[in-house]
Symmetry: C2
Subunit: 456 residues, 2 copies
């Protein structure tokens, strides 16, 4: 039985067996108190052990040791919990020598990143990773309940969805001595018979799914080989990309809003102990911010109108704000936190700053894009209606100088039974930053990958 | 409204809008019948259109076209369905020229693999990918209901979990002109400051999760760069790897059996239309085989006993069967299908044919491994209790000549609060082969990766 279940539902007077890791041990000559945690909850269960009876094992028990304790579940007066365990038998599964890196309290997040193999044993990372699980499950449940199909797009690919992202190359060639032809590397001898790389987005293949199964979503790893040493970038991260046949931009926005509110409400409903802890330790306004999103109707306006508001704001921004330029986080947050005091969805961005596949508006200048902007973090979702017209799409691709020789199959979907369709992308770790209140993206994924680091 | 919902719950006499792709069109001078499918179900909805009124659109409608039809939902007499749509308005979203590759019926699976970007529009692949979704969701639901946490292990890694698998290298170096130091490639200049590759298993990092959060599972892509052009191998596939603190081998086996039965029962309960179709088209014994697994208690026996049975069987096998050798699929199937007529779990394999991390038995010869064997496919799950003793593990690693310099963090878990723990791995596509009855693994994943193929 997990400690979570015993704390919540264990019957007073019953015989229990608890297993977990020692968080603290204290006591005196008569009695010892051990706080035991098994990762199922942020809360520890208190073990009360007779100091004389358990003299021998108690000597070998220190922070980090792993124990199996049999005992009686009794009402707790002092531990802050409903119940505690009066020990009858203590087995030590594994001791924890003095050099245990989590010995003392109050480590910095930077230090804990260096021991990512142990940090899930801390309160902070236990909480973050339980919330990570809850959000992942809520995503699957949301889409399953709505009749979407989970669609696995390939990780290794020969095409580049955005036409721009920096990519990791994948190879089985001997790099010290690669085969050559005409003085260049002969990729026909590589595993896939051509040069290949790690995907930057599953969207293009997602569209193939939507144009067959109707409504699909992806949820998988994506990769960017950008040399960005920032608290907001990872080289390997997880993305959710729903794609829906027959959705126009308005349907896409409505889904994005409903989806985000569902996820955040799910966290509020299912992760209250962990959220409470994170709020106390890191971010006093955490749940207030979550409720702010759930309780407000998202404000929808066009990019052009947003630029006018920003220009008329009198606010001093670090980056200038002119029509045609991408919005910076400071602009997005001004709109959300100051001007509207509401989550915001911006639509109809200039085509020059958006991807080739977005549906072109009649004005010749903008596309049917939409970005969802949140407090504290700015853009959390980016999406669009897709250009379903073959000629318009081909023209845009040619204007942008994109090589389509690897994307013939994508174009074919506009040739055979094309349909209006839309989709969006949500960076999973971006969502988690918002929901957990953590400020560094390396702290919301178990084993972060970034420049100079592929440890563990 | 999806066609699935209209077919099941649409009210007769109501006004409906249906959107989907034309599967067939037939009729005469008076009336046209269009079978429309939107991917939500294997079943089409029949559109009945007055041939005179819709003369113009009907001329442009052919197999593969995408339509939006408004009409009245009426009782169906001839279509094999409860209801059909009497068309009042027909919009063509996208026509489908004569060169539509899915024009005619009865394509081979080989041909459909070449047009993987269109094959989900066929009955077969619609069914397979809906089942794929259902199984993925069932996996998440099963573990979530049991209090397991979903644990994302890294895809890019510098360690090799099995110590043997052929791996894909990941790099951002310019392969035509890589930086060199002392005549060798200077990986300190690569993205991660060292040579890195794609993971072959998330298990080692999964153990880190279990030894902190108690019970975790992974569900993500894994990679093998083996040059295997077979119907059973993929270069990129999805694995599920639960890992549980405090589980001994018996608990591990009980979980594996319960898990597989849950998944298969879920398919029987939730995918009956698709299973019926696949049964009719590909595998007459499909659901009988699924029920066989659900209804029988798995037979547990030791590897050594299995070898004795096989040697005494009088059966002629292609491969010899001697103690110390790995079992071949033919041996596994003989035990399951002929000898026991039961799914089988074999335990306690010779240590030489299993991985370094498995818990060593006192006999010095075998390890606490377990493989679950199924009819038709042989091994479906492989797992073990893990060696939690630091000295035994270190000795085994040294015996096997494995380089542990990249795995110091794994060893540390045996040093600080070590605990008995176990886990297993299930290849998602292997499961899908069993559940769908398909015979080639390239047909149960949307975009298969194998030697010479990274298309789409």
């Amino acid at each position: 039985m997990r400690i979570l279940d015993i704390l919540n539902n264990g019957e007073i007077g019953s015989r229990v067996v608890v297993k977990g890791w020692v968080r603290t041990k204290r006591g005196n000559k008569t009695v010892a108190f051990i706080a035991l945690n098994d990762g199922s909850t942020i809360n520890n269960i208190q073990i009360v052990a007779d100091a004389e009876q358990f003299d021998e094992p108690l000597k070998r028990i220190s922070t980090g040791a792993c124990l199996c304790v049999e005992g009686e579940l009794v009402e707790s007066l002092g531990s802050g919990q409903r119940v505690e365990v009066q020990a009858r038998k203590i087995d030590i599964y594994g001791t924890s020598p003095e050099d245990y890196p989590l010995q003392k309290k109050g480590h910095t997040l930077e230090f804990l990143r260096e021991i990512a193999y142990l940090r899930p044993r801390t309160n902070t990372f236990g909480a973050v990773f339980r919330i990570r699980h809850a959000m992942a499950f809520a995503i699957h449940k949301y889409f399953n309940d709505k009749g979407f199909y989970y669609w696995h797009t390939p990780l290794i690919t020969a095409s580049d969805a955005e036409g721009a992202g920096a990519m990791f190359q994948v190879t089985t060639l001997d790099m010290e001595n690669p085969p050559k032809a005409d003085g260049k590397i002969d990729y026909s001898q590589d595993f896939f018979g051509r040069s290949s790389n790690l995907t930057v987005s599953g969207q293009l293949e997602g569209e193939l799914g939507a144009l067959a199964l109707g409504q699909i979503y992806t949820f998988g790893p994506t990769f960017r080989a950008e040399n960005s040493n920032t608290p907001r970038h990872l080289a390997e991260f997880w993305m959710i990309e729903p794609e829906m046949a027959f959705y126009e931009l308005e349907d896409d926005m409505a889904l994005a809003e409903d989806f985000l509110k569902y996820l955040i409400q799910y966290a509020l409903d299912n992760c209250s102990d962990d959220l409470e802890f994170l709020e106390k330790m890191y971010d006093a306004e955490l749940r207030e911010r979550l409720r702010f999103v759930v309780e407000n109707k998202f404000q929808v306006l066009e990019y052009t109108a947003a630029i006018e508001i920003l220009q008329a704001s009198g606010q001093k921004f670090e980056y200038p704000c002119t029509w045609g330029a991408d919005l910076q986080s400071e602009h997005e947050r001004y709109l959300v936190e100051k001007h509207f005091n509401n989550p915001v969805i911006l639509t109809d961005y200039p085509k020059e700053i958006k991807a080739f596949y977005m549906k072109q508006n009649a004005d010749g200048k903008t596309v049917r894009a939409m970005d969802v902007l949140f407090p504290a973090i700015g853009e959390i979702i980016g999406g669009s209606q897709r250009e379903e017209n073959y000629e318009k799409l081909a023209k845009r691709i040619s204007e942008m100088g994109i090589n389509t020789s690897d994307m013939w199959w994508y174009m074919e979907t506009r040739k055979f039974g094309s349909a209006p369709h839309s989709g969006f992308g949500l960076g999973f770790e971006r969502l988690l930053l918002f929901v957990t209140g953590m400020s560094n993206i390396r702290d919301v994924i178990p084993f972060p990958r970034y420049p100079q680091n592929a440890e563990f």
